[in-house]
Symmetry: D3
Subunit: 175 residues, 6 copies
């Protein structure tokens, strides 16, 4: 807030503007989705203001795989398409809370919970989201767990996921 | 957070869902715009989570008149149309920061500052906004100042706006 | 907090001191009031501490015109005089909550709401206020709406205030 | 914030008003001072708003003995009199930061630090303070350490203050 | 804070006490570890106070599998044993930050990031942790992703983890 | 948070590690206790994360004298020994809330309240604490009140503690 005050004489309108959220992201990838984030790194005027925005594109049948935002709640609305959404509550219930969203539906993913979306339709789908931090972060579970740099040692993951270590090596080789 | 924890066994998916943000709001009013708010009163699952969403519709040449959100920053993107947006910085600079937004542009209105939007086109325009509070509030300046219930006594407004008190009465009669 | 900790060996008593709140502000202006603010810009020791103070002087019949603090609640006490105070709740109620304060009365203006004060007496009046931010900001509604730099285009204000655009030009010319 | 929103139709102006801060507190006590607090218990409209106010009266040579506010920073201005103020920084520096305040001086006591005031004059003195919590709390060091209910066992205090236990018993008997 | 104030006359010492953190948790499970949590549900006096504690026990070679705390940072110290710890930064870096901790080492897992621990020794290991919320929550990644109630549909996970759906079914059958 | 984000490519594992909390602090002092603090000054990775940790050692019959943390709640568990703990509620109740803790007991000291611990046993005792700030601060009451630098003038303390000024001078000479 102090910084904002000092900036008051210096700010440009451009500090508060980001262009391009109408552009479809590139969904030609393994999961068939793409998120375009507008957070403080993209839009400096968000500094100290506790909010950001994102657009999510889905190819037909594409998914936004299970992920969390370590510092934000997400509120999402469907602009185009029919999307299955879900989040899972913390231990010990681990309840899956799920809905099929149509165009115009709004859904909330509470802070830090694992959530996912899937395009149920044969057309591209689009969602717009608000996030309660200027720097929400994204942790894609599979990539972080199986594709970290360097890899998590295989026996930890074998025990965590209760599979043979070769299954872990196989999954790690994909990321 | 405590409440959310206790609710964990009781929550329904419906607590996190709101339907209808694809519907155009009724812009047949004096300003030619309409805001549909999805805050904690409309979507109980937002409780304690610090975010909400809104859709703003603009008739051709319609405006969203100068207003503030007393408890939130707003981040907005244009879904359809061409919109002039602006906010004014605090005293003493009172700088007007303004931009013409096209489809896909994203703009930030910092917490508590007076801001407005105007549809510059001959078609309906649509914007989607995220707000950094589950209960952001809206204060439409003209309505609050000239249409409060009961009215602010006229001489205060005459002095504040430096006009004859009859001008104040005239404006108050409209709200 | 981190900054405060690092400053611990370096702080001077002067960083925590501001002199002059006993001095009457200059109320020879269009509204007949003056606010002397003691925030982080005036008192560096307030940094990170979330509070500030102000003195408001009122000439006889003077007003502190409708304004908001975008980042703070205000608690005010009357040192001298008899003052009408009010704030208006958010949409859609827009209720005017108002009281006549005598010396020693304390009143609260919740965060971000539009509020005003008027000296009801024939003597100078004085109020002291605490604000819940080290950088609360002040937005004087009339000045910001009709006196921004540059001006808000007239047709937006004409529609917002539902008056002829010439009334807008007339008001803008005063600020 | 949610509570405030729900209250919006129900609030009375009286919820935001406290009367009587012009009245001198009773300073006929061992220290010669009195604090009148206007926090959420006295002024329900402060709920969730993060601020409160207090008046401190000092008899000639009276002191407001060393104390802390466990949940607030205090900003104070002198209305009448000449007051010595001080606070002590945390371990290990334990620097005493001190100033003599005249009428109109403003001073800050950072959150949770031990501070005190002393009337240096031969007249009554008055200060007004803002505090950055609706429920700041007051911990008068001597009363809490030597007058708790029940008493802290004497040997702990003897060791803490490095005096004979009979000195502790003597001090405890005063509170 | 308000609640705490009102409770002040009613609180018992028992509200602030939890017994049993010296007891080894039951590590006879698939991962060979156990976390004993002391949060607001176990210790009501923590309400509104923003902190909690946990003990983690590890059987020889046991792991605390990858998990997050959706509302807290964790600071951990090793009481007994030799423990490999790690966390992974957000997208896109997904850097694995890892250390081998000996007795007396302290390590931080920033809010919401996926982290894990593994006992490297042939004895039981013990860690004590502080968490920056009275209700931090725990999300064990494997359990939440593959053992939610009901299951996440298999094709979403197959695509997310880039494995054959039968691998997913196999993992889900373990949870 | 912003800083953390920018640091993401630059952070080392060492930024998140502190070594040595297994080492007994030096309790050969007047009170027979020692606190080893692991806060942001010792562990830079804690920056912005709102938590820290401490180890407290007690010689037989040693005390951790009455003190406060101006910016944190403390949650403490006993690793070894039998410890009397207590805190005192704010004015006006000044209730002493006290418990004898055995190994494995957990106790909470709410933010900013004066608290103390005493080893009741004939062996060394050890406690581990979590604190709800990366920079909690410590204010040892006796040292701050009687050993500040420079001294608080004696008559203020004589009046506060209701003892002869020579008792104050005597206590000040010890610190």
């Amino acid at each position: 807030m102090v910084l904002f005050a000092k900036m008051q004489k210096l700010v440009h309108a451009d500090d508060f503007l980001f262009r391009g959220l109408h552009l479809m992201g590139n969904t030609s990838n393994d999961v068939g989705s793409n998120a375009t984030t507008v957070a403080v790194a993209q839009l400096p005027g968000l500094n100290t203001l506790g909010i950001s925005m994102a657009r999510i594109d889905f190819a037909p049948m594409g998914i936004n795989p299970p992920h969390t935002h370590p510092r934000a709640t997400e509120i999402l609305t469907v602009n185009e398409g029919r999307i299955l959404v879900g989040f899972i509550t913390s231990n010990p219930e681990n309840r899956l809370i799920t809905k099929v969203l149509e165009k115009g539906d709004v859904f909330v993913f509470p802070q830090g919970l694992i959530h996912f979306q899937k395009n149920l339709g044969h057309e591209y789908a689009i969602a717009i989201a608000g996030l309660s931090s200027q720097n929400p972060g994204v942790i894609t579970i599979a990539n972080v767990v199986f594709g970290s740099n360097p890899d998590i040692v295989g026996d930890i993951l074998a025990k965590a996921f209760q599979v043979d270590i070769n299954v872990i090596y196989q999954i790690q080789s994909k990321f």
